[in-house]
Each structure stands twice: as structure tokens, then as C-alpha cells.
Symmetry: C2
Subunit: 576 residues, 2 copies
């Protein structure tokens, strides 16, 4: 492509309402143009990137044995009634009536439609497994669309659905997709992590999210740099400390801590490490017989409680935080000074986090306003507690796979694989006849990739003060040729045209900046729009048979002999 | 692709509500599946065809210098208010309110959005011309969706828009698109015609429709087999007969024709050729001063009046048909017996079709109930009329380009190119600064192709009792290999696998039917889904080193030596 035949619309400044880096850069670089809140036109430059991402996704899905189809964006609402999801979905679901007053939705997702297709066409176990996917524009009426294409209302998604005769076969395909997604993000040239995600009622290993790592990400991910372990912070297991509980060394003592209700204040007041303080959280679970069960959760003071994990304590069940009056009534003390010592274990259950269980000589509330206890020890001053993992992991925690310690980073979710099991197949009666001729409900998996979101996420991961930095696989062009004086020097023009023709011949995605602009403008534009490799051709270099090469993130340009530039670029592009 | 890894869902019978051949065949072949009225899922087989069409369109548009972008399907309604088109569009326009009660439409077309993009980004004549296009799913809430994907509610379109500094430059790009569209339909392998279309108020050469020829088409096209002249029947010029008016040979005579009001009845009753009868149509045009102008239009009795052409008679203006009482009042006679002889030319204007002007000794109404005149001649029995082209052409008429006679065929409109001029640019103030620094409104062209409709139209053009017949460029697979006994004979399996691998290696789109089905089932399926070339491999042939080849439309199969089959297929695919 020659810039003179392209449509460049770079801006000096991003619009004031752009919030995140990728959005600002994409608007400045002319990748996208805003049409309405959360709705964008993909300009020719941005569309090149979007299509490259789309094609890599498609190639890998096909190679994995999935079959592409295309479902309608407009779906009859009856299917959503049949699945029971329609009423539950809320206002993000765009519903409308057609001119005949029939109800439709603009599909934000296609479980119902694909299940309807499969239940009509698949009758026998011999037709299974089948994995069908599409790459399609979707609409979700976000209450607050933001972050440009990362949380837009109209967006491009790959959504795939697999159907199986057994859970085992679903697990096999799930593994296939895990590997396929890993290949996709590797080919895209992105730093990513596959993280175990909380799957709510489905549980187990049934769901992974794929995150592009970027400081601006919305999700916290715990990962082990020495293995491929990664999980959402909320889901990562906090294992027990490696070293056992130290032997008690202090006597228990009641200390006046007037007005010191927050753990940090207590630590400062007593001049003890906050990691020696246990915080006590009072909760109540309503029992089926109408009664209430009161319980105390013990955490190290610097740790965060994880409600999902605590919710899984069988003896506790679904719980809520206790009110001040319930605390007063049960423990005879206001919150802020409560603790686990000398409580009536008939009335109050105590559950300690694994880290707390390994503590000794700790500080906790004394169940008396204005007082704490110090030198407290399990087994001596209070009974051994029941022990659970009830906190979020923190950096430095041991990795659950035993292969090192965890770090925390931020990620942008760009993919999600999910074992749906029989949720939709059951609701829509999507059944097959097994080898014995018996009707069985199919097992289902679903697999999503946010194609347009990837473009935003890639730019969140790759940018600097000059603009966008993209991997060659998805940059709008892999190489740019910037001639100094294309319209003035015959020699420069000839050399530029020849290199351009050679690279094109080799199938390299090259752009020749043949605009009659100042070098500074051309350099700035090519850097802003994120071209990974730049070749500058000038009269001075040409005299010595030299071109100037600079990688997008190189500090300095280097001179390269004319005869070597093509091989060098090929080498760099193959390595990428 | 191996059929065992694909998803074939052929049906014995098409659903009862399928109306046209392409719809029935596409449903039977498993190309598409109905989701709602006029809304279809493109199954993997059909999507292969759709994508092939899409890619040819894209390649040719890119080669023609147009740049692809992607506009949102959801558009803010304000743009439609600005262009003035919103209120006029009617119920086909799907409008909705988002959760913040802002008005949006699902865009059936994108003139407003693209004009908004260009007015924001293009400031100078130096940035023009620019041609931007997209290939996108559109929605139109048809009152009666039908004909499968040919008139669906959700469909895939290529829509392009060009912007120019001058009308001359628009005409240049229009010519470029005319040539590009011709290349596209040629590459698709379809019989088509580019026809001049009526452009309403724009007129001139400002619009062409591209039609795929098929007997089931909705539009009548007049074309000259000896040249590239083609036009909608409504727009084709009916030129004057080649031979001049014959000399009057009969005396005018009044003949009783009791009750014979229809021309055909008069012809039968008088035993004259209907081509010797002139029919008289009474019309009224309301004048600006409130008065009425009464006029008679004269046509040969077997010809059809063309209201669009008649509406262009300047002296007549906008007209309506006269009521019976107006006819009675003006001519003193009931309709059915009216004629042009002896009428008061002060009160009644007479306009004759060109064919009528060349008639002599003709029959017409006598302006007296129950009577006609015969042997009537212009210049002798009534003054020479004003002459216009006011009828539809018929087969056998001279071609307006003087290169032969016209034939009439039916076509399905699949493309439309249009000189919009400044209609939208003016409404949305899409302006540029010219070389003198003066602000000017841009000239615009728009260019559409119904991508999904092409698939339906191609099947309307190509089918037989066995199923779909598609050109290799867009068939779901170009070649099928059908082994007889793949699961029983090692030799057959080996030969089939080897041929499959060889063809794949050559980039030929081949499908190997490795299902364990009876030969008849496999043959029928491959014919139904429209594979152009079939190779059958059986043990008997293999003994003689022979494969059996049959083209989809060949009457008989032929035996081909194993070593020659690949070269033969390559030859056939290159020739296609």
C-alpha cells in the first residue's frame, strides 16, 4: 500500500472524553472513529488490524477441527423464553418488536440459537461431537460503555459451541480449546495468561479466562513466574504457610487500646507488625429452621477476606455480615474489639484462615470495648479452630502448584472457555440417541474470544509516548518505507519503489510513505500507528549503498547495506 | 475436508413453506437453516459459498482502489434526521431506543454514517477522491420476507461510497465501478447483464443495475444479444419502427362494433390484426392554476403504456387516468369507443407513441358508443400528432443502439451503482476546500452488491432436478472424491487418500466423502450440494488404473487414467 492511496487520518490530540490509553491512541492513529457512545467505525487502518486478529482466530479454530457458520444477529425472543434466560438478562439485552409485533432480540450471545440448530439436525451419537463457531458482530447495551473498543456496545466476537455425548468428551474438547487459545494468543504475539476462573455453580476446572497482561487491566491475576499456574486473585488458592506454627513464647495479656478499632491503628499503637494481628469478622447465616447461626472468621490483619471461598464452608452455608447489634448481643462487645478467645463455642462457630492457623503469640480483640489481647495462642488460650482457605492470595504467597511464589499482575480478559454441561441442552431438550438407542441430553461447551477487544488490549500492552506498538502479526503494516525526498530525488524514488516492489513480491505487508510531507511528520505518523519496522531511504545513505533501519522500540537506528535489507527484514519477521 | 469431519445436514424434502427453487435447494442441501421469517443461519456448507462470494467482491474492490472499513450496524437516529431520510423511510427501518432512551436505527444502508465520517476527516481537495466500502450484515424489516436469502430481513451487503471534487471525477469512478462489477460477476462465473436503471429525479446515465439472469427473476430486462445493450423494460427506449409509414390505401369508415370495447375483441370481431388497431387512453393533468388538461395517449393495441415515459412529456406533466365521467363529459362517449378523430384540439391534446405515428389505415374508436373507425390515417383524417416514446419495449423491437433487435429476459438484481451527486453531502454539509480555498460540497457515488443474495441468485440460475449447480469459483467445494468402499477396500482407501492429499497440496478445494454410506446416497448428496467435479474411485476401475470422472452437468461419466486425473482437474478448474 502507498500512503497516497490510503486514507490516513491521524490526530494531534485524542478527544477529551477518551479514557484509556488504547482508546486515545486508536482515535489519534485513525484506527477508529466514534459514531455514538460505545459505537465505533473501524477505519481502514484499524480494520487491517481487526482482520488480522480475526484471520488468526479463524485459522486456528479451523485447524482445531471447529466448523465456521454464521448465525443471525437478530434472534426470535421465544428461544430466550425457552431457555429461561430472557427475563433474567436485564436491560443489556436489546429487545425490539418487528413490524408484525413479534418479539426479537439482538443477540449478545448465541447459546439458544446454536442449541436450536443442533437439536434440529443432530439425532444420533454418530453425528457427535460437533464444534460450531462464528465470528460475528454483537451488540450489548452496556449501561456505561467505555474504554473504547474494550467495552463497546457493538463489538466483534468469536463464539464457538461444542456438543458431546459425554462429559469426558467435553473435557477432551475443552483441552483442545485450551491449547488452541494458547496458540492463538501466542501467534498474535501477546503476553497472556490462561487463568482458572470462578465458575459459580459449575465449579471445578470448568472455566478458564485468557487475559492479555497490561497494567491498565481491570482484573487482578495471581500467577507463578516459574510455572504456567495462573488464576483470578479471587479464585487462586491461598495455601498454608510452608513453615509450621512457632511455639508459644508469650503469656496472654489484656492491653488497653482505647479507640483503636482498626487493625492498622492497633499495630501502630502497640508497635507490633500488623502480620502479628488477627482480625475477627462476625457473620450470620440464616438457618432453614428460621434460626440464626453466628460465626467468627479469623484472618491475618493484612489479608483480605474472600467471600466466595468463605461461602464454600459447608458448616457455615450462605452468610451475611453480622449487624452491630447482633455482635453486641452475642459477644457483649462492640465490633472493633471482638476476638475468638473465651467465646461460647456452643453459640459461636470459629473458622480460621490457613495463615491464622499457623500464627502464635498473636494480637486480637478482647471482646471488651477498648481492649485487645496479646500473646494469644491456639491450643492454650483457645481451642484449635476449624481451618479453611478464606482469603485472597497476595504477592509472595506460595504457588498452589508448589513451583515457586505467586506474583500479582493485571489482565484484560479477551477469551473465555467454559464447560456449560447440560444447562442449555436440557432447557431446549437438545438430545441424541446413544448406541443403545436411548435418548440422552448433550453435554455442551462454549468458547468466546473478544476479537475487537483484543485490538484494544494489545495496545494497552504495547504503547509508548510516541504511540502504538504492535506485534508484526497484527500491526496494520509490518514494514514501512519512508523515503526522504520521494518527490525530489530520482534516486530515492527509484530505490524506494524497488524495495517496495520486492517486499510486496515476498508477501510482506509493506507501506510506502509517498506523501509529500516533512520527514518528522512521516516518522511521527508511522510511529503513532504502530508499524514495527521502519526503513528510511535518503540520498546520503544511498551514496554509500545504505538504508537506515529502525525497529519501533529500538533506541537507535542502524545503517544496513542495500543488498542486505530484505534478508534482514525477512529474518525479523520470521522470528516474530 | 473430509465429510466425516464436516457437518452435512441434507434433507429429502424442502419445508413446505419454501417458495422458490434456490430457497428449497439451499434448505435441502443444508446451506441455510431458518431461524425466523426472513432470518437464516448460514450453516458451514452455505457459509463456504457466501465467503467465496465475499472474497471475490473484496479482492476486486481492493484492486479497484477502494478501501475497506467497517461501520457500525447500530446508528444514531440523529444522522437520519439530519439527512431528512428518517421520517421518510417507513417501517422497514428498524428503530429502537437504548437504555438511556436515545434513538437508534439498525442501518439498512450507510450513506449518513459514511458522510459523517468523511465530513469530519476530509478537509481538502488533496484528500479526494476517496472510495470507502464495507462488507456488513444489514437488517431491513421487510413486510413480507420471502425467496429465502434473496429477500431476507438480515443479509450481507457490500456497500461502497465514493467522494469527489467534481462531477467529472465521479463519472470516472462510476466507470471504474462499472468495470469492477463486471469483473466481479465474471469471476463469480455468472451470466449477468448491466442494465441502465431508472434513476428518478437524477436521470441520465446515473444508475446501473447488475442482474443475474434467471427465469425466476422478478425484473424484466430488455437486452440486445448482438451488443452489450441492456435496460430494465420500463426504461429501455422504444425507438421508431425502421420502415416509414405506409401510404394511406383505404377510406375512413365507421363500423358498428356493438359491445366490443376491448381491443382484442374488436380485432376478432373485425378480423383484423391487433397490430392494426390504435388504443386511446384518456388522461388528465391538474394544472397549477387549478384547471385540468385533458389528453389522449395513442398506443398500438398490443403495446403496454409506460407511465414513467409518459410522465416525461413536458406538455403533459404529472397526470392521472381520466374518470369515466370526465371522458363522457369531454368526448361525449363512454370509454371503450373513444378515439383521436374529430376531437376539439383546443381542449384535448393528443400524444402518439412512435409506433402509432408510423401506422396507416388503422382502426380506432369513433367517439360514439358501439362504433369504431377503420382506414384511419394521420394527415388526412386527423392532424399529425405529437410523437413520443410512451410504451414498454417488446421482444423484436429494434435495439436503441442500432445493433440488432431486443430480446426480453428475467433477471435478479444483485448489484446497483448510483451517482448520488450531492444529495447527502449537501444535507450533511460534507464540504472540502478547493484549490482556490473555496468551500465546495462533495460529489458522491454509491455502489452496492447483495452478497448473500448472489448465492440465491446463482442457484436460481444454476440448478436441475438433482440439486444445485454452481460455478467452481463459488461452489462449496470444487471437487469431490467418492470412494466406493472406503471402509472395506485397502486399495480404494489408499487411492482416495492419495488423490485427496495431492489435490489439497495443489490448493484445490476438495472434499473426500469418507462416510460409510451407500454410493447412491453419496452421489445424491454431492449432486444436491452442487459440487462441480466428481471423481469416483472403485476397485474395478483401480484394477485397470482408472478413475471415473463426471462433471456436475455431464450426461455420462468417463474413465480417466489414474495418472491423468490431477492434470485434467487442474485444466478444468483453470478454464472455469
Amino acid at each position: 500500500m502507498r500512503t497516497s492511496q490510503f486514507f490516513f487520518t491521524t490526530l494531534k490530540e485524542a478527544p477529551a472524553d477518551a479514557e484509556v490509553i488504547s482508546q486515545k491512541m486508536m482515535l489519534r492513529a485513525g484506527y477508529i472513529k466514534r459514531a455514538a457512545a460505545g459505537i465505533y467505525t473501524w477505519m481502514p487502518l484499524g480494520l487491517r488490524v481487526l482482520r488480522k486478529v480475526e484471520n488468526i482466530v479463524r485459522e486456528e479454530m479451523n485447524a482445531a477441527g471447529a466448523l465456521e457458520l454464521l448465525m443471525p444477529a437478530v434472534q426470535p425472543f421465544e428461544l430466550w423464553e425457552e431457555s429461561g434466560r430472557g427475563p433474567a438478562y436485564g436491560p443489556e439485552l436489546l429487545r425490539f418488536k418487528d413490524r408484525h409485533q413479534r418479539d426479537f432480540v439482538i443477540g449478545p450471545t448465541h447459546e439458544e440459537v446454536i442449541t436450536d440448530v443442533v437439536r434440529r439436525d443432530v439425532k444420533s451419537y454418530r453425528q457427535l461431537p460437533i464444534h460450531l463457531y462464528q465470528i460475528q458482530t454483537k451488540f450489548r447495551d452496556e449501561i456505561r460503555p467505555r474504554f473504547g473498543v474494550m467495552r463497546g456496545r457493538e463489538f466483534l466476537m468469536k463464539d464457538g459451541y461444542s456438543f458431546h455425548t459425554s462429559f469426558d468428551d467435553l473435557v477432551r474438547e475443552y483441552g483442545n480449546m485450551y491449547a488452541t487459545y494458547s496458540r492463538i494468543f501466542t501467534r498474535l504475539g501477546l503476553k497472556f495468561r490462561a487463568v482458572a476462573a470462578d465458575t459459580g455453580s459449575i465449579g471445578g476446572d470448568g472455566s478458564h479466562e485468557f487475559h492479555v497482561l497490561a497494567d491498565s487491566g481491570e482484573d487482578d491475576i495471581a500467577f507463578c513466574p516459574d510455572s504456567d499456574y495462573a488464576a483470578n486473585v479471587e479464585l487462586a488458592e491461598a495455601v498454608a504457610p510452608a513453615s509450621p506454627r512457632a511455639v508459644a513464647g508469650k503469656a496472654m495479656e489484656k492491653i488497653a487500646t482505647p479507640g483503636k478499632m482498626a487493625c492498622a491503628d492497633v499495630a501502630a499503637f502497640l508497635a507490633v507488625d500488623i502480620r502479628n494481628i488477627v482480625k475477627t469478622i462476625a457473620v450470620v447465616s440464616e438457618q432453614e429452621d428460621g434460626g440464626k447461626k453466628f460465626a467468627l472468621l479469623l484472618l491475618r490483619a493484612d489479608h483480605e477476606m474472600n467471600e466466595i471461598k468463605a461461602g464454600k464452608i459447608g458448616a457455615l452455608g450462605t452468610f451475611r455480615f453480622a449487624s452491630d447489634s447482633e455482635v453486641q448481643e452475642t459477644l457483649g462487645c462492640i465490633p472493633g474489639f471482638i476476638g475468638p478467645v473465651a467465646v461460647d463455642r456452643e453459640k459461636v462457630a470459629i473458622f480460621a484462615d490457613r495463615t491464622v492457623a499457623a500464627m502464635s503469640d498473636f494480637v486480637c480483640g478482647a471482646n471488651e470495648a477498648g481492649f485487645h489481647l496479646s500473646g494469644v495462642n491456639f491450643g492454650r488460650d483457645l481451642p484449635e479452630p476449624e481451618v479453611f482457605d478464606i482469603r485472597n492470595v497476595v504477592a509472595g504467597d506460595p504457588s498452589p502448584d508448589g513451583k515457586g511464589t505467586l506474583e500479582i499482575c493485571r489482565g484484560i480478559e479477551v477469551g473465555h472457555i467454559f464447560q456449560l454441561r447440560t444447562k442449555y441442552a436440557k432447557a431446549l431438550n437438545c438430545a441424541f440417541l446413544d448406541e443403545q438407542g436411548k435418548s440422552q441430553i448433550m453435554e455442551m461447551g462454549c468458547y468466546g474470544i473478544g476479537v475487537s477487544r483484543i485490538v484494544g488490549a494489545a495496545i494497552e500492552q504495547g504503547n509508548d509516548e510516541k504511540g502504538i506498538i504492535l506485534p508484526p502479526a497484527i500491526a496494520p503494516f509490518a514494514v514501512c518505507i519512508v523515503p526522504m525526498g520521494y518527490h525530489k530525488s530520482e534516486a530515492v524514488k527509484a530505490a524506494a519503489d524497488q524495495l517496495y516492489a520486492e517486499l510486496k513480491q515476498l508477501g510482506i505487508d509493506v507501506v510506502l510513505d509517498d506523501r509529500n510531507e516533512r520527514p518528522g511528520v512521516m516518522f511521527a505518523d508511522m510511529e503513532l500507528i504502530g508499524i514495527p519496522h521502519r526503513v528510511v531511504i535518503g540520498e546520503r545513505g544511498l551514496k554509500d549503498g545504505q538504508f537506515e533501519y529502525k525497529g519501533r522500540t529500538d533506541a537507535e537506528a542502524t545503517m544496513v547495506a542495500q543488498g542486505e535489507i530484505v534478508g534482514m527484514l525477512q529474518g525479523k519477521l520470521c522470528a516474530a
